[in-house]
Subunit: 208 residues, 2 copies
């Protein structure tokens, strides 16, 4: 099973690495890291990742994983990921996104009229791109799976492991990753975070 | 604030990228990715990361973050990370590990007689290296913070953000990462996973 992880400048590394460490350790999987060029890709907070193929070289895979970015509007404008999605999605078994990666799926026409989730701060923007926006952490709609913000990619990928290989495999994977989360604060969603924290975050995250 | 993330062959990417996306987005932070040589480093499931400095070049930082690996015994044997820790730890404000990264701290003498946690499958091995092993998800002991397996690095780093910059900052960070975990299975620890899954995982993860 070939899994293609999209890389692009300014992406959020955890959006990719959460699903990657859930999926790429499955013995049936070959992981590919696909970018516009062979050059290393700089993530938003400085980590640099090395592609294994370009969007022109790898146009088919069983699973596509598209991470998000605080600068998702720039990635939409650039068009490289959306052009690749238009080529690779029709033959993929699963097409997935994490966080604002959903906006790239939407621009590629994949979410039109579909239920989908995204980072809580860009729900309106995803709706404007044609998706039927849900507030769930993970939305499975046929062959398309979308996840909420950043860390939700782990939950999304475990869901996918269960769908592909069954519950026991997903449980094994969760145990190996010791995914028994104990957030030291109760602020992971706009519903639970203190109001002043939500207001500040909305302002910081507003597209400019 | 300079934060040095250690890179080494066979490391688990999520051990590093969880803390990285929590910490490196703080406006006061400069992130460094430090390895034995300037060459890109291949993680256990194929992702390749690019260092920004070598262990010889960067020997002081405010925070050290050491990820784990299924092949932690090879990293102990190699000695590059532990030699760097012996140089960098004495002047660091915080020294941290995720997963089996704890074994590297222990071999460097940092955990001798200290309470510490690690991946559930290597508790005995960490105790043999001199640590007072706890089963907590995150253990803070003075300037040393250790985390349980892989995904626990997110909880560890949020704890550190709270210690350094206060609760409001940590809550903001949790909200931006939408860290509102909803694991689709209940198998994140040996206490909650089905017995047959735990037995299988113990066998797979046993050091060889």
């Amino acid at each position: 099973m070939d899994i293609a992880f999209a890389l692009y400048p300014g992406m959020t590394a955890l959006d990719l690495v959460g699903p990657y460490d859930v999926l790429a350790n499955q013995p049936e999987v070959t992981a590919h890291f696909v970018a516009a060029s062979p050059d290393p890709v700089r993530c938003d907070a400085g980590l640099v990742l090395v592609p294994t193929a370009t969007f022109d070289e790898l146009t088919t895979a069983d699973v596509l994983v598209v991470p998000g970015s605080g600068r998702w509007a720039e990635a939409l404008e650039d068009g490289a990921v959306t052009a690749w999605l238009r080529r690779a999605h029709p033959t993929a078994t699963w097409t997935t996104s994490v966080c604002t990666g959903s906006t790239l799926l939407a621009r590629a026409g994949i979410l039109t009229g579909r239920p989908a989730t995204t980072h809580w701060a860009v729900r309106d923007e995803l709706a404007a791109l044609g998706a039927l926006v849900r507030t769930d952490r993970v939305v499975v709609d046929g062959s398309v799976i979308t996840a909420a913000g950043v860390s939700a990619g782990i939950d999304m990928a475990l869901t996918l492991v269960g769908l592909v290989w069954g519950d026991r495999r997903a449980e094994f994977t969760q145990l190996v990753l010791e995914y028994d989360p104990r957030p030291p604060y109760r602020a992971g969603s706009p519903e639970t975070a203190p109001a002043e924290v939500v207001a500040f975050a909305r302002d910081v995250l507003r597209p400019r």
